[in-house]
């Protein structure tokens, strides 16, 4: 039981060790010529990777050897709270439900937005993303979502393209035509 818990707590650290070792190997393959006696560009990354591997290894050892001593590694804020509040419950201790599927959909929406941005253009992609994000965020007022996403998308487009002069993607084909039409309608440059 204790071993399983330690193994679960250490999984991420072991993964980081593996990644860091691969990066350490990569650093060794860099081709450069440092003039006599000078340190090369590999020294700093190697030092960081060495420390990263060392810290993760320490965490793994600690998880397996001292797993039952929970809380010994608490940070300063927790220590202050323990000293001043005696572990009393407060508004920040409230239990929250975890809904990982929402995160998966939300992250998927962010990726999809970047994928379609240059094709659909900033305006259409933004309106779609905002509407979808609000719906995924469990707001079920459809007229509210439609109005907020339309107003939001137009406002972002007007402020950042027309006033702040950020070069926002206009899209391709009909979407570009739509963006340009709107640019003229709103008297934007």
């Amino acid at each position: 039981m204790r071993f399983a818990l330690a193994a679960r707590n250490s999984a991420l650290h072991i993964l980081i060790i593996a990644a860091a070792m691969y990066l350490y190997y990569l650093v060794g393959t860099w081709d450069f010529a440092a003039p006599g006696g000078r340190l090369g560009p590999d020294v700093w990354p190697k030092a960081i990777l060495f420390l990263l591997i060392g810290t993760c290894a320490f965490a793994v050892v600690r998880n397996f050897v001292f797993a039952r001593r929970g809380g010994a590694d608490a940070g300063t804020l927790e220590e202050i709270m323990r000293l001043t509040r005696g572990g009393a419950e407060d508004a920040t201790d409230t239990q929250t439900r975890s809904m990982p599927h929402l995160v998966a959909i939300g992250a998927g929406l962010l990726v999809a937005y970047v994928l379609v941005l240059e094709t659909l253009g900033f305006l259409v992609s933004t309106i779609l993303l905002m509407a979808a994000f609000m719906y995924v965020g469990r707001w079920r007022n459809v007229p509210g979502i439609v109005v907020t996403s339309l107003v939001g998308g137009l406002a972002f487009f007007y402020v950042f393209r027309g006033i702040v002069y950020v070069s926002l993607p206009l899209g391709r084909g009909p979407f570009e035509t739509l963006s340009l039409l709107l640019t003229q309608l709103l008297h934007m440059r």
């Binding site: 560009p41 940070g75 804020l77 001043t84 995160v103 939300g106 941005l117």
Partner: protein, 510 residues
């Protein structure tokens, strides 16, 4: 001193220029709003406003806007903490322990009055210290070489590891990941590609603003999304007003006020530690050493004055290393540094010689922001807390868009969006697995500075690493850093020993 005062007077004139005054008020209102909304943190709010500052031709209004937001962001969350027991910011958690208790006793106006007094007076004291110390520190910084700069950065990095919340081991891992991120790109000395994996998007390196926008902005949105954007129910608190404390009442808490303000300034100066740490540490000190420590948590003024005065005074402290050495003292000052760099200006000792008008306009804006923040807070609390009625899903959708525009605006490159989406997911994973984000962000910000100062020292002193320890200033700072790093470990070890002894004695008794 006369020189400083005359520069400051010119600074005040600049702040009252219509454009600067308008952006200052906008910054104050935005700071209060992000502090009131539980889903938006102060640092995240300042990150989101950054793209708007690209529109300014000059650096001064951009910095004034962000500074005003930073100042008011340390105060706005007090309303929701005291009235509804909802800390808008982590800064406000200690504030609700006594503030909410006082409000529950039927004195919410008094609790809000104490907050206003603490924020204004603590902030003003810190602003005076900032103006007084900035020039001498800048003069001292002019004498610093690479070893001293490296030592200061090292101290900043260790303090963010030691003073943050959560596991110190995970904080160290987060820091090393941040330092590693800062090495990505083409090396400026040898021209070789480091960790680019053949991707052109990584050749220019990863901008720390992308790391911040992704990890703080998108990461936080995903974390809140996992909880389904559950907003706490608001209680009906009746008419909302602020009643300022009387002079006699203020005199009773003067020791708390002074202690907390000085602590706030000192914590602000330490690179890496900001308003949240200041607020918690100050409350902790008051609870352990204050005159009425046994009543802390029962709704006494000391419990409100201590965290609020420290949080707001940390702003003045954090501005000192930023302006004088170009080293950010907190997350918000890191973004302000980003705004400086985006407008082609590098803060540091030289700015006092080259652009004193900009420096003192920023200093003057801190004073004006403090008064403005209190005036807006005093007259529009009711309106401010109304933002809690907004649907969090809608607020989150806007936050996501601000993050994307922030990334687009900095280089006009759609590929940068991949970077912030990546860091958004990483930021969520960090939150989920209890790895603090702040060390990673600070590592990404200070990494290039740390590396260049380390390499310069090695070249200048023929690879003699003992130079860092033999030079008095760098040696002293590094010693402090080592103590800061070792102290929590020693504390944990002693705690374990004590527990073991307690366990043994309990066994022998039974």
């Amino acid at each position: 001193m006369g020189d400083v005062l005359s520069h400051l007077a010119v600074g005040f004139i600049a702040v009252f220029h219509p454009v600067n005054l308008v952006v200052l008020v906008v910054g104050l209102v935005l700071g209060l709003l992000v502090a009131v909304l539980p889903g938006l943190t102060l640092v995240m709010g300042v990150v989101l406003v950054l793209p708007f500052t690209y529109a300014f031709q000059e650096v001064t209004p951009a910095i004034i806007m962000l500074t005003a937001m930073y100042v008011s962001g340390t105060y706005g969350g007090a309303f929701t903490a005291i009235l509804f027991r909802i800390p808008g910011e982590p800064i406000d958690v200690p504030l609700l322990w006594d503030g909410y208790a006082m409000a529950q006793r039927g004195e919410p106006a008094k609790a809000l009055g104490w907050t206003l007094f603490a924020a204004l007076s603590g902030g003003l004291l810190a602003a005076v210290v900032m103006v007084t110390l900035a020039q001498p520190v800048a003069r001292l910084a002019l004498t610093f070489s690479a070893p001293e700069y490296f030592a200061i950065i090292f101290f900043g990095l260790t303090s963010v590891v030691c003073l943050g919340g959560g596991s110190q081991t995970n904080a160290l891992i987060s820091l090393f990941i941040g330092l590693l991120i800062s090495t990505v790109g083409v090396d400026s000395t040898y021209g070789i590609e480091r960790f680019t994996f053949g991707l052109p998007i990584l050749e220019d390196g990863i901008e720390y603003l992308a790391v911040m926008v992704g990890a703080y902005g998108l990461g936080e949105v995903l974390t809140r999304l996992e909880q389904g954007f559950q907003s706490p129910a608001l209680q009906n608190v009746g008419p909302v007003k602020t009643r300022l404390p009387r002079l006699a009442e203020i005199a009773e808490v003067k020791a708390t006020f002074l202690r907390s303000s000085v602590l706030g300034i000192l914590i602000g100066i330490v690179p890496g530690a900001g308003a949240t740490i200041a607020s918690f540490v100050s409350y902790g000190v008051e609870a352990q050493y204050g005159k009425r420590r046994q009543d802390m948590g029962k709704g006494i003024p000391e419990g409100i004055v201590a965290p609020q005065a420290a949080a707001t005074s940390s702003v003045g402290g954090a501005m000192i290393p930023l302006i004088t050495m170009g080293i950010p003292g907190s997350g918000a000052t890191a973004i302000i540094l980003g705004a400086f760099l985006l407008h082609g200006m590098q803060p540091g000792p030289q700015v006092f010689l080259n652009s004193p008008h900009i420096v003192y306009a920023i200093f003057a804006s801190v004073f004006v922001s403090l008064f403005g923040m209190c005036l807006i807070g005093y007259f529009s609390i009711k309106l401010l807390v109304k933002v809690l009625d907004f649907k969090e899903a809608a607020v989150a959708a806007f936050v996501v868009m601000f993050c994307f525009i922030g990334a687009l605006a900095s280089r006009n490159n759609v590929n940068d969006l991949w970077v912030i989406v990546g860091f958004g997911i990483l930021g969520f994973a960090f939150e989920k697995y209890r790895f603090p984000i702040a060390p990673m962000v600070l590592g990404a910000i200070l990494g290039p500075l740390a590396e260049s100062n380390f390499m310069t020292t090695m070249i200048s002193y023929q690879n003699d690493w003992t130079t860092f320890f033999t030079r008095p200033i760098s040696g002293g700072i590094l010693l402090l850093a080592v103590i800061a790093l070792a102290y929590p470990m020693v504390r944990a070890w002693r705690e374990q020993l004590r527990e073991r002894r307690r366990g043994r004695s309990a066994t022998s008794i039974s």
